[in-house]
């Protein structure tokens, strides 16, 4: 009965979402307070019923109710309890429902946290979110219904994909969705502003916290995804330029541009049209990502053709969102444009240039992601666009943006003197060049990736530190938002150090070893101590033991595993990693070979952890900036 009640709850949520859209938008345009209140009530109800639906699905997983098709396909009696809980979002249907749930939660947060906002702006944003939720719920109910039933039910389910039976994969999707939904809120604000014609400084001040929150979650989601790929896929790659990764990178790049453009709109009442355009673009890109990941086009465009409804629905949804927004944009862009002029050399133009570089890089990523799909779709042949393309296009586009990142804080708003800024930064630039040229030599060999990464990172850190020091000297204590900027920019620099050094100096070797035999890599010696059975409830595993020595002293004992999942017969490599501040030792068990040997892979990954520490600092920066905005608002409210 509980799954059926969950189904009814989703049907009610669908109707409440439509009413939320109707009352929110019409209530705002007629200034009808009771309709606007009804829109908030509908939003609360929508959250309640999506939550009930979601809990019903979770219950079905926990109770092994295999009469629910979704449970029968993605769980089994052998699956450990914690993964039965997370299997609820391990499937296509469940993860879409989670996305919808988060959207409802953010809407209610907006309804209650935005009390001081202009009533019409809030009601319009709630209305737009209601229409989006309506589309999401219609998609869930009509094409991806998690409550399809089986009668009679099977004895046991097909088990959860082993790749998803992992803590990293538990966190990754919810974080990404939190990010996507944060940008759905900024999209709703953008549409509301276009309708009402006022994307002014006050508007930007209301939007910024939501954009920052979305960006923080998206950053963390991408970081966890990359870390998961690193330890789970068995060879220590951290970014593959895989279309499903690019699907989350594209909104992140556009979202980063949006954050910076919002600053200009808030502080200088300028770039409004561009900001609104970016807000629309980020959300459209999250939908494009959903289309790529969820429609099945990635596994094959022909898989998409087999079950076209799901993909078609998102594609039409994407078309309507982009089309309607652009029409609105065309009609209203003139009206929302404001005269906030600035000189060609100014902080505004530096931020705008950075924005354009980010979007160009985004375009390059999009081209590389979509081009092979389009060729395949029109039967023009199969090509694969891999890391060589992305690296050779992405890096040259991002490098100037990173240089600009150091200069921009030294340029004044309105009009600035580029020569003076460069003069102020001459020592930092020289130091960065020297570090880039010399520091790689400390690693034994000069490699350009390391030189570029270190030079850029040194430049960013030194310039950011100088900017913060100059600001402190000028105005006393630093506001939280400045700390946020510092943390995010330094975090990016630290991430770049990790990227540069690991791609320049990573090393690997594969050896076929008997018990007791040795392999060497870099300064380390690995002694293979054989394998032993290590069974678990839903897989059986061979666990190898590898002692790692350096200069004759034992550093650590690593225990990589090879698992076979009983239901799906999938083989998984569970790498053993010794994390270190200056690099990781990474051992993966390969295949058993004839004669009792095992093939074992050894990797050294210098500075790879800096990538994720950098991403964490960036997310922290976003949080600090959001906290700073909140504090500013409190202070403003106290003074008025």
């Amino acid at each position: 009965m509980i799954p059926e009640l969950g189904h009814v709850a989703l049907i009610l949520a669908l109707q409440l979402a439509l009413l939320q859209g109707f009352f929110g938008l019409l209530g705002a345009s007629r200034a009808n307070l009771s309709w606007m209140a009804a829109a908030r009530g509908a939003a609360t109800g929508q959250l309640l019923f999506v939550l009930l639906g979601y809990l019903a699905l979770v219950w079905a997983f926990l109770a092994n109710d295999f009469s629910v098709m979704n449970v029968a396909e993605h769980s089994s009696r052998l699956l450990p309890m914690q993964y039965r809980f997370t299997a609820a979002w391990g499937s296509h249907e469940g993860s879409f429902l989670l996305w919808t749930l988060m959207m409802a939660a953010w809407t209610v947060a907006l309804a209650f946290l935005g009390r001081r906002m202009p009533a019409e702006l809030r009601a319009r944003a709630i209305g737009v979110l209601g229409l989006l939720s309506f589309c999401f719920l219609a998609y869930a109910l009509f094409t991806s219904n998690p409550f399809m039933r089986l009668h009679p039910p099977p004895m046991d389910g097909g088990d959860l994909n082993p790749l998803l039976q992992d803590p990293g994969m538990i966190l990754h999707p919810p974080l990404l969705y939190m990010g996507y939904v944060g940008f759905a809120v900024t999209f709703a604000f953008a549409v509301a502003a276009l309708v009402a014609g006022r994307p002014d400084a006050a508007w930007a001040r209301w939007v910024r916290p939501w954009a920052l929150a979305g960006w923080v979650f998206l950053t963390l989601g991408i970081m966890i995804g990359s870390w998961w790929a690193y330890y789970e896929l068995g060879w220590g790659g951290w970014w593959f330029w895989d279309p499903s990764e690019n699907a989350s990178l594209m909104p992140w790049l556009a979202g980063t541009a949006l954050l910076h453009s919002l600053i200009v709109t808030e502080k200088r009442r300028s770039l409004q049209v561009w900001t609104v355009f970016l807000a629309v673009a980020v959300f459209a890109l999250t939908l494009l990502g959903a289309f790529l990941v969820r429609s099945g086009v990635l596994s094959s465009v022909h898989a998409f053709a087999l079950d076209p409804l799901r993909g078609l629905f998102i594609l039409v949804f994407l078309g309507v969102v982009v089309g309607a927004s652009l029409i609105l944009f065309a009609l209203r862009a003139k009206a929302v444009m404001a005269p906030g002029a600035f000189a060609p050399v100014s902080r505004e133009s530096a931020l705008l240039t950075g924005n354009v570089l980010l979007l160009t890089a985004l375009g390059a990523v999009m081209l590389g992601t979509l081009y092979p799909l389009l060729l395949d779709a029109f039967d023009l042949g199969k090509i694969s666009v891999g890391p060589p393309y992305f690296n050779s296009v992405f890096v040259p586009l991002m490098a100037p943006a990173l240089i600009l990142l150091g200069i921009a804080p030294f340029l004044r708003w309105g009009a600035a003197d580029l020569g003076k800024a460069l003069h102020d930064l001459r020592w930092q630039a020289l130091a960065a060049l020297l570090i880039g040229a010399l520091a790689p030599l400390a690693f034994g060999a000069w490699r350009w990736q390391a030189a570029l990464g270190l030079a850029l990172a040194a430049w960013m850190i030194l310039a950011t530190a100088s900017a913060l020091r100059a600001r402190r000297r000028a105005s006393g204590a630093l506001p939280l938002s400045a700390w946020g900027m510092g943390s995010a920019h330094v975090g990016l620099a630290i991430g770049i150090i990790g990227m540069g050094l690991v791609s320049a100096y990573e090393s690997e070797t594969t050896a076929a070893l008997h018990k007791g035999e040795k392999a060497a890599l870099g300064p380390y010696e690995f002694v293979f101590q054989g394998t032993a059975e290590a069974p678990a409830s839903n897989y059986s595993a061979m666990r190898g033991t590898v002692q790692v020595f350096r200069d004759g002293r034992e550093v650590v004992t690593l225990m990589p595993e090879k698992r076979i999942y009983l239901k799906s017969k999938m083989t998984m490599t569970e790498a053993a990693i010794r994390y270190g501040a200056f690099g990781d030792i990474y051992v993966a068990l390969g295949e058993p070979l004839p004669g009792g040997k095992w093939s074992v892979q050894f990797y050294l990954k210098p500075f790879v952890g800096w990538l994720w520490v950098g991403a964490l600092l960036m997310a922290l920066g976003g949080l600090l900036a959001a906290a700073g905005l909140r504090r500013q608002r409190m202070e403003r409210e106290e003074t008025t």
Partner: protein
């Protein structure tokens, strides 16, 4: 029924969440409650209509009707039985049912313990003694010894006890006492309904035993021997 009560409660909560804020905020010219009335009527109707279109309204009755559901949820029943017996450990019938469930899940040791408790409560119940014999045999891998004693005891109480007949025949078959096996199994076959898995298996085993007996008595050739040898490896009529 309780499902539709739940649906009704959901709809009421939805309407309350929607209309109460509206009511509280109603502005001065509140003379047009049409939208509110429209929602009041449309929401329940659409909910029921969409559910009947999208959902599986029949599944609750089907589930309640079909025994299949309970069989698939046997684990749940075992747990419920265990709880019940903790409260009421003198229930011989309950221990018997639990023992049979354990046998179905091949948990021989637990089955033996449960059936022993059943036998202590009802020492003259042939069904329980025969079932206990099977549980012990499952654990030890042999019907000889204690299981056979229990089977004999059960047949003394009730010469037509089906499980006892089955096991007695099997024990004789394993010892290649063909005539004795046939004695028990033919009696069993008369008791079993015709279209039944156990009936098929027993009659197949009876056929083998008959051939073996004929060979032994008549000493005729080796024809049919390999097949019989092969079958002998898995003589269980299960």
């Amino acid at each position: 029924m309780s499902f539709w009560i739940g649906v009704g409660a959901f709809v009421l909560v939805a309407l309350a969440l929607l209309l109460l804020p509206w009511w509280r905020q109603r502005s001065a010219p509140a003379g047009r409650p049409w939208e509110a009335l429209g929602v009041l009527g449309a929401l329940p109707a659409l909910t029921v209509g969409l559910y009947i279109y999208l959902g599986a309204p029949g599944i609750l009755e089907e589930q309640a009707l079909s025994q299949a559901q309970t069989r698939y949820d046997a684990e749940g029943i075992v747990r419920a039985l265990e709880d019940k017996l903790k409260k009421n450990p003198n229930d011989a019938e309950g221990w018997y049912a639990l023992g049979r469930a354990y046998i179905a899940f091949e948990r021989a040791a637990e089955a033996e313990e449960a059936l022993r408790k059943a036998a202590t409560q009802a020492p003259k119940d042939a069904r329980i003694l025969a079932q206990l014999a099977e549980a012990i045999a499952l654990g030890s891998g042999s019907l000889q010894g204690r299981p056979l004693e229990l089977v004999t005891e059960a047949l003394a109480i009730n010469p037509d006890e089906e499980k006892a007949l089955e096991l007695a025949g099997l024990a004789a078959y394993q010892e290649e006492k063909w005539a004795e096996a046939l004695h028990y199994w033919r009696r069993l076959l008369r008791k079993l309904p015709k279209d039944n898995d156990l009936h098929d298996a027993v009659s197949q085993a009876v056929g083998i035993a008959e051939r073996q007996l004929a060979e032994k008595l008549g000493g005729t050739g080796m024809a049919g021997m390999p097949e019989a040898q092969e079958r002998k490896k898995s003589p269980s009529p299960h």
